[in-house]
């Protein structure tokens, strides 16, 4: 089978990814509409966000994506231990992301910010918490694949499972990059 004509990962996962992207796309579109209607409110809210930790988080997820991509290549080359090891790095990048983001949420919640505060915080929390949960789900998938890899379920000939997990992780990463650009950077 020619490599270029092969879709990595499982079709069912791609359908799931498409649905998830559709949800995020609608959220982003509504964010844009509401932002255009209340520019002052959104500008004020955006100004209070901490760009630094968001940037670190962006780099973390990209690093996780790089690690999972390298993991797929490692499995394809039958370097099974290295592949499993790289999955661990992806998981770790997610865990640090959750720590940083969780600390920010704790801070916001302590200050009384909620989904009902105003439109900016409603969208901010909806988007980021929803994405946060996707990172959690991505980490669960990574762990599941890692456990299967440890049992020797994958090899050069068959590592679709790893590709499937990687596809999901890339989606989580991609959504975050868009979110970062739209909510944190675009002012």
């Amino acid at each position: 089978m020619p490599r270029s004509r092969h879709v990595p990962g499982d079709l069912a996962m791609w359908l799931f990814i498409l649905a998830e992207l559709a949800v995020f796309a609608l959220f982003f579109a509504l964010y844009g509409v509401h932002r255009a209607r209340q520019p002052a409110l959104f500008a004020q809210g955006q100004a209070s966000l901490r760009l630094g930790s968001a940037l670190v988080n962006t780099l973390l997820l990209i690093a996780g994506s790089a690690a999972v991509a390298a993991s797929v290549r490692a499995f394809a080359a039958n370097q099974l231990a290295r592949g499993a090891h790289l999955l661990g790095w992806t998981w770790l990048s997610g865990a640090v992301f959750l720590l940083l983001k969780g600390e920010e949420f704790a801070h916001l919640f302590a200050a009384g910010v909620s989904l009902s505060s105003d439109d900016f915080w409603m969208f901010y929390l909806s988007l980021t918490v929803f994405h946060f949960l996707h990172v959690v789900l991505g980490m669960v998938i990574i762990v599941a694949v890692w456990l299967r890899a440890r049992r020797g379920a994958y090899g050069a000939a068959n590592h679709v499972g790893v590709e499937t997990a990687a596809a999901y992780w890339h989606m989580v990463d991609l959504v975050w990059v868009v979110l970062f650009a739209l909510v944190y950077v675009a002012r």
Binding site: M1, R5, H6, V7, G9, D10, L11, A12, M13, W14, F16, S114, L115, S116, F130, L133, L137, V140, I141, V160, T164
Partner: protein, 141 residues
Amino acid sequence: MSASFTKSTARNIFYGGAVFFFLLFLALTVDTVQTLPKRDNRANLTEQVARGKKLWEVNNCIGCHTLLGEGAYFAPELGNVYQRRGPEFIKAWIKAQPTGAPGRRQMPNFHLNDAELDDLVAFLKYASEIDTNKWPPNIEG
């Protein structure tokens, strides 16, 4: 173009997706329940209102009317009838039923006494003061 498509992955996505979104729904429910005291007019949820709600239920008012837009669509919305008509009109109207006007929609007489009518009106007043995000669009409901 080729892609792997296995039943086990489809099954895992079904179970995983169902659990994920149900937990998310539960989280939103927790937030909603915590936020409701600011919106649901519970400060005015008196014994009388509770009695009125029960009268509303055991006479199956929802079988013709809507309340906050939910119910049957045969008779007017009553979530804002307190503002539209006022308490005295509501009581007089209920007592005057059925009109017997030929060919017109008829509301049964539910034989409510004055205390019960007050209870029902108290319930409708309470319902009308719930924060419904400015629904209905106008007083006609």
